[in-house]
Amino acid sequence: MSPKLRVAASIALKEARHILRDPLTLAMALGMPVILVTLFGFIIDFHYKNISVSLFDHDKTPASRSFARSLGAANYFRVLPSEDARNPEHTLADNASFAALIINPGFGRDLDNPEDKPAIQLLLDGSDNAKTGIAMGYFQKAAALGLSAARGQRPPPESTPLSTRFLFNHELNSRWFIIPGLTVVICGLIGILLTALTVAREWENGSMEMLLSTPARPGAIIAGKLAPYLLLGFCGVAFVYAAARLVFGVPFCGSHALYALSCVLFLLAATAQGLFISIVTRQQQLAMQFAIVSGLLPSLLLSGFVFPVASMPEFFRYFTFILPPRWFMEISRGIFLKGSGLADLWPQLLMQALLCAVLIKLALKKFKTDLEP
């Protein structure tokens, strides 16, 4: 073992002991992935079901009743009765329901009179626009069925000229979508936030200066400092992987080696970013806030985890190019769900390697210039 490597190894050992001695921090670093997987896995759901609809039936005929019943039949809507005297808009303003269905008098009588003006009105709450859009789609289908139910007819046969195949997630399972993306968020959390914070702490209490005055080379110090966090990040990934496979039944179609490589690249980039933040701020509070803004929020919001990159305005689409989580997200979903290989993912991996190199270079440069008096 070369002396440089030995120094790095002993610093890593010391750092690891340091982490182990503080069981609360360790528990939190390892507990965070558990909590995130539980929350995201069990709570977030993109299948909008049981959308609440307040019913204002001013017609009160068998036809209007079968329309309302048919609307509630498919589990997409939950029809709630309400008092006729109430203003339908108020049920939306007070969050009593997400939509209001108003059936005007004469609906049953004029059912087959094409000249008639609309006899049914649906009011939708637009404040959650994604849900509103999906509810509108549901309603179009449900209303067609409802009208034939009101007429006492059998529902018309499905008359779309298009058949759709959903590839890579054929059951449209929300978990398959969320869990592979979660590895990115957790790596970002451990890599950037924890590193930024712990290294900033050493600057704050002066132990970093002490370490620098020893004959150890700066490169070895950094390598030794960061190694345990890389390991911790890797534990996080391993946990998410196990949960994905064992608890949520997410398939893993691609190569494990490729995935591990991509993880290492991302964790290296993340810890380098954390180090850079800690050197620039040298203070835990600041380091924390900068790490959240530059690390956690982009991993969560700008990486395509939930909000697709392709839908962003042009400027922001190019802006995401400099974010390592954006590339790792594509790789993670690609390898987990699509079985993508090196031939598909080389551009993403290349970008990851490039950003990783830039971040390490930046951190090292900052570290070295700060050493000079």
Binding site: M28, F46, N129, A144, S163, T164, R165, L189, L286
Partner: protein, 368 residues
């Protein structure tokens, strides 16, 4: 509690928090920047779907369907080459519209049940679901126009749909209150928790305790400046929301002020409680996250929580974020009724009182 004492405390805390230029930037400029970035970038609308077309070169009708799709604004052209599956796998295309193989679309459309096929990358299942709806409509319309008779589903003209509060279904109107919640939460909880933990860590806390001050004086002197800092962010954020995103404020401003004040009180109290458990700043930060992640996720501020399991439902009711975001959306977009404003505000105030009580209790325990 003497006023002069409190003033001194305020001055010292605010000077300390705002002394660093980077900290000032962080507290006052960053919320505005974040709101701008996330407000513009985060879109839930489907756009720029890379759609490739597979079929016979002489299939004019298929090309018409494709052109209609590209003209709709949802789709952009993509090339697949021969192997469409590889294109989907590498992400070159997100959707492939495939025409019939044994003839042109015009020939097959009356013979096959579904002559057109849409192959979708469903790894983002939410987007895939929306895509399917759009493409089905586009195809049905184009084919109906071509044949001139009713293959299209009968348009239910009996029915009118009206979207209230956000008729253009603009994402920003949804995002802006959400980001406001997030930013306030991150700033106040973490800043408070870490500032107090820091004093413990470097030992200045001992000095204050040994000074002739009552517990209440120390507690309020230490925490109220952060309430002030949090509240100072509210007009900044609202200004950006109004100027850049034209998010309406339909309700009275005092309601917005009252809701923000109660919320910031709650979050600062929560930050204080967290700091009493933490030995150092690192633990304070971790514990803040342990609170914030569930709080943010369970509130439905940004991510959909349609089918929360029953076990988590109780947590949703003791979540101050849920009430705050309901109030924000209610006041800004819906001009909510006074009655439901009062209800949501009192729920949040009750939680706030509980948090403050707990902070006082924990604080006293720690000091004695």
């Amino acid at each position: 509690m003497s006023f002069i004492l409190l003033k001194g405390f305020f001055k010292k805390e605010l000077t300390q928090a705002l002394r660093d230029k980077r900290m000032r930037l962080l507290i006052f400029a960053l919320p505005a920047i974040q709101l701008t970035i996330f407000g513009f970038a985060l879109k839930t609308e489907v756009r720029n779907v890379r759609l490739a077309v597979q079929g016979r070169a002489d299939d004019a009708l298929l090309q018409r369907v494709a052109r209609r799709a590209y003209a709709s604004g949802y789709f952009v052209p993509a090339e697949t080459g021969a192997d469409w599956l590889a294109a989907l796998r590498s992400g070159k295309a997100e959707a492939v519209l495939a025409g019939p193989v044994n003839g042109t679309l015009a020939e097959r459309m009356d013979r096959d049940a579904a002559p057109l096929q849409l192959l979708l990358d469903a790894s983002n299942m939410q987007r895939a679901q929306q895509l399917e709806t759009y493409m089905a409509q586009i195809a049905a319309q184009e084919l109906a126009e071509y044949s001139g008779h009713g293959r299209a589903p009968p348009a239910p003209s009996k029915i009118s749909v009206r979207v209230l509060y956000n008729p253009a279904l603009d994402s920003a109107i949804f995002m802006v209150p959400a980001v406001m919640c997030l930013v306030l939460c991150v700033i106040t909880i973490i800043l408070t928790a870490m500032a107090l933990a820091r004093e413990k860590e470097i030992g200045t806390f001992e000095t204050i305790i040994s000074a002739p001050l009552s517990n209440t004086e120390i507690l309020s002197g230490k925490t109220l400046p952060y309430v002030l800092i949090g509240l100072a962010d509210v007009p900044i954020i609202l200004g950006v929301a109004e100027l850049l995103f034209r998010v309406p404020i339909r309700g009275p401003l005092w309601e917005l002020g009252a809701a923000s004040a109660v919320f910031v009180f709650t979050t600062v109290a929560i930050g204080t409680v967290i700091s009493t458990f933490a030995k150092n700043q690192q633990q304070a930060m971790m514990a803040s996250f342990l609170f914030m992640f569930p709080a943010i996720l369970l509130s439905g501020v940004m991510f959909p929580v349609e089918n929360i399991p029953d076990a988590f439902k109780i947590l949703a009711h003791i979540n101050p974020l849920k009430y705050f975001v309901t109030l924000l959306r209610g006041i800004m977009l819906k001009d909510m009724a006074l009655q439901s404003f009062v209800f949501n505000l009192s729920c949040m105030a009750a939680l706030s009182a509980a948090a403050v009580a707990m902070a006082v209790l924990r604080f006293r325990q720690k000091l004695n």
